[in-house]
Symmetry: C2
Subunit: 232 residues, 2 copies
């Protein structure tokens, strides 16, 4: 990393993606060391050996860095759970592996997780529901679509439409719980995942009942309100 920074300080960023990456890596390190609020875009540029104008070219502000961070987490999450998604397993097994895989991925960022969530709540752009967050959000929801689509036994048709978004919202709630989790290595969040995941089994069982159609309709109406674009 230090060698790379030296190289970038002296050349004109040969590979644009590398410069983005360098800025993000530097930003995450400074957020960890100095705190999110205390880290300015100028400080990130200086630490990365870039002119401020160059850093601003890639990220207009810290909100955009947060977006890129979300994006990277989703990519890392997908890589981490690709085998699980490609394999066979019950809905509960797949969901458990996907959530624990996510906690593995974000584990190193716990020090400033709170700052990011605060940012997401304080700025409409950084909210996971914003237009600006559409890319990482879609990546994350796609994982839950895969969780549902590949589950064996198959998830009943009636709940298949609503379930991925519902699971994604539960996943957001777990992320929030993790942010405030002060237990060692956030083991409490691990226990919450283990205790909550088995609740999908009765959900599936209910989805097979004759009156489940009206419930899933109502659920879809509630999800539609949550998933409306913030800008609408």
């Amino acid at each position: 990393m230090d060698l790379n920074m030296f190289k970038y300080a002296r050349t004109m960023s040969p590979n644009p993606q590398d410069t983005r990456q360098l800025i993000l890596d530097t930003a995450l390190r400074l957020f960890e060391e100095r705190g999110y609020a205390a880290t300015t875009m100028r400080a990130i540029a200086a630490e990365a050996g870039l002119a401020p104008s160059n850093a601003y070219y890639w990220f207009a502000n810290k909100d955009e860095l947060v977006q890129e961070f979300y994006n990277r987490i989703q990519d890392d999450h997908l890589v981490r759970v690709a085998d699980v998604l490609a394999g066979a397993g019950s809905l509960a097994e797949r969901l458990s592996a996907v959530e624990h895989g996510y906690l593995d991925v974000i584990g190193g960022y716990h020090g400033f997780g709170g700052a990011f969530v605060s940012t997401a709540l304080g700025s409409s752009a950084a909210s996971p529901f914003s237009d600006e967050s559409a890319r990482p959000r879609e990546k994350s929801i796609a994982i839950y679509r895969e969780v549902v689509a590949g589950a064996r036994p198959a998830v009943p048709e009636k709940i298949r439409g609503a379930l991925p978004e519902l699971l994604w919202l539960c996943h957001l709630a777990i992320t929030l719980f993790w942010v405030t989790d002060s237990s060692r290595d956030q083991e409490r969040t691990r226990r919450l995942v283990d205790a909550a995941v088995p609740l999908v089994a009765p959900l599936i069982r209910v989805a097979k009942l004759p009156w489940a159609g009206s419930v899933t309709d109502q659920l879809e109406r509630a999800l539609a309100v949550v998933m409306e674009r913030t800008s609408a």
Copy 2:
């Protein structure tokens, strides 16, 4: 208010509760006008016409003001929905009235709601799950206990234990949604309440099924993890 402030500036706070109230009122006004982060305890004291030492006697820091604010909101909420809780109604009717009553109570604070939630996420003391928040939390959960206990038709025994905390967690999720709701008068949160509340009916229906016992056991295990004391 201005007259009171003048009086307090000149006397030695005849009624302790009035001084607390004055500090909180002043703080909320300044949070609204200047933002939460930019408002110092010293500025609150000065604006309230108190010596800093006097203000610090009542609130050691802004976290404690946030606690007092939570407390007041719960008190106001209870006053607002007392008639609903005393009356008869279905679980869905009671829950709907209680949630809308809550949105009425917090409506005026939307301007700095995000700052408070950020504080709650950034500071373990201000989290709604902390020991320090026990009083307002218990007040709020007590409202949901009343919602459940007074519902007619009666809520099935099996789910009666877990339901109040489950509803309180949903209430926290709705609060979070409200914080990031940029729609006019947060009408989107109102629509979410209207779309989500009917989902309690199938929950009750499921609780009457012969296999519901193992589900509510699992639900109680998950709730137990969530509700563990942060300090534990």
